[in-house]
């Protein structure tokens, strides 16, 4: 009974938050389109897409992600798309970028724990060393940083020219921050393995 309610709660949460975000991003899109601010309306357009992404989960009968992970995703979108790019925190606050990377490292770590649970059925989990969980959580989180940097790098080559402006040092600090976040969750998962 409680499980079912929990499942429905997650569906409602995702629908409400996604719709709110999409409306917010669409308003921003039209505002900046009207102002002729091409970089900001493009970011808002991307914001609509990433806000709509969790809606895919509605088609699942039982959403595997827990509520903190779901809320964490929306927090991430807010911090990077709106605060970071549109409100220019990335430009004005030097520590913003690395902090987001650290946060993202943690979030992907928890996402990794959920993926681990989906991919490895409960009955065989006792046959899997907890180092698999540790390595999986850590390396998935690090990989997300790499993919993010590749996205920035390719974006800069093709049309933005600003994302990796900080050069090699910036890229390396991003990677270090992401790795640190992932490491934290990996250790957490190691000690919580009995419950995972």
């Amino acid at each position: 009974m409680t499980l079912e309610w929990g499942g429905k709660l997650k569906h409602k949460l995702i629908i409400i938050l996604s719709i709110l975000y999409i409306i917010f991003m669409a308003v921003l899109l039209f505002y900046y389109l009207h102002k002729g601010d091409s970089s900001r309306w493009q970011v808002s357009g991307g914001g609509i897409l990433v806000s709509a992404l969790p809606l895919v989960l509605i088609f699942c009968k039982k959403i595997p992600f827990n509520i903190p992970t779901i809320l964490g995703y929306y927090l991430f979108v807010l911090c990077t798309i709106y605060l970071g790019s549109i409100a220019s925190f990335y430009l004005h606050l030097k520590w913003w970028d690395s902090t987001i990377h650290f946060y993202k490292g943690i979030w992907v770590g928890f996402f990794g724990i959920t993926l681990y649970k989906i991919c490895i059925p409960e009955k065989v989990r006792s046959d899997v060393s907890h180092w698999v969980l540790f390595l999986f959580v850590l390396s998935l989180s690090v990989t997300s940083s790499v993919l993010w940097e590749i996205y920035e790098f390719v974006g800069d080559i093709t049309f933005t020219h600003t994302m990796q402006r900080g050069g090699n040092t910036d890229t390396m600090y991003d990677l270090l921050a992401g790795t640190a976040g992932g490491l934290l969750v990996a250790f957490y998962s190691l000690f919580r393995k009995s419950k995972v």
Partner: protein, 192 residues
Amino acid sequence: MNRKLVIILSLAYVLFMAILAFNLYSTGASFKGAVAIGGVVCGAIPLFLALFTKLQFNLPIVVSYLIFLVGSQYFGSIRGWYGLGWWDTFMHFISGAILAFAGIALYERLIHRNAGDDISPWFVFLFTLSFAAMGGVLWEIYEFSSDQFFGMTLQGGGNKDTMTDLIADTVGGLAIAIYSGIRTKIKQSKSN
């Protein structure tokens, strides 16, 4: 059998590098000589493991490790192929693939055999890919910290170089990860 092959191959590499170091030092090429000494040390690692431990060897890993050493130390540094530009990227691609193999071997050792049939091939794919990508990141972190703390210029090529390295690592890992995912899938459909 594996053990003998590991001993022969790594002994051959150690001897080759030792002779090379001797020749290089005697002709005054002391930097390349130091690389060759490094080669002796790197080649000695599997040799000592084979001689003094009871470790079970995974032959593909040892062989690809030695190929990597030949590529980076002999061709890259001593023959100067790193100056070619694409060689560095190519070696990163190879090392991504090697790391992926190492990831698979590690994974297989860390799960009980009977559990393998129930674990999604996607997990094997993701584990292998991200293990290789993480290896690439750790390598760049090592280069970066050497530059920061010891004033070296390992990342002298700047952001573009770092990113090309990371992409090559990831692509190398991806190739092997796809292979391992498909292999797991086939294995599972056979046993079911």
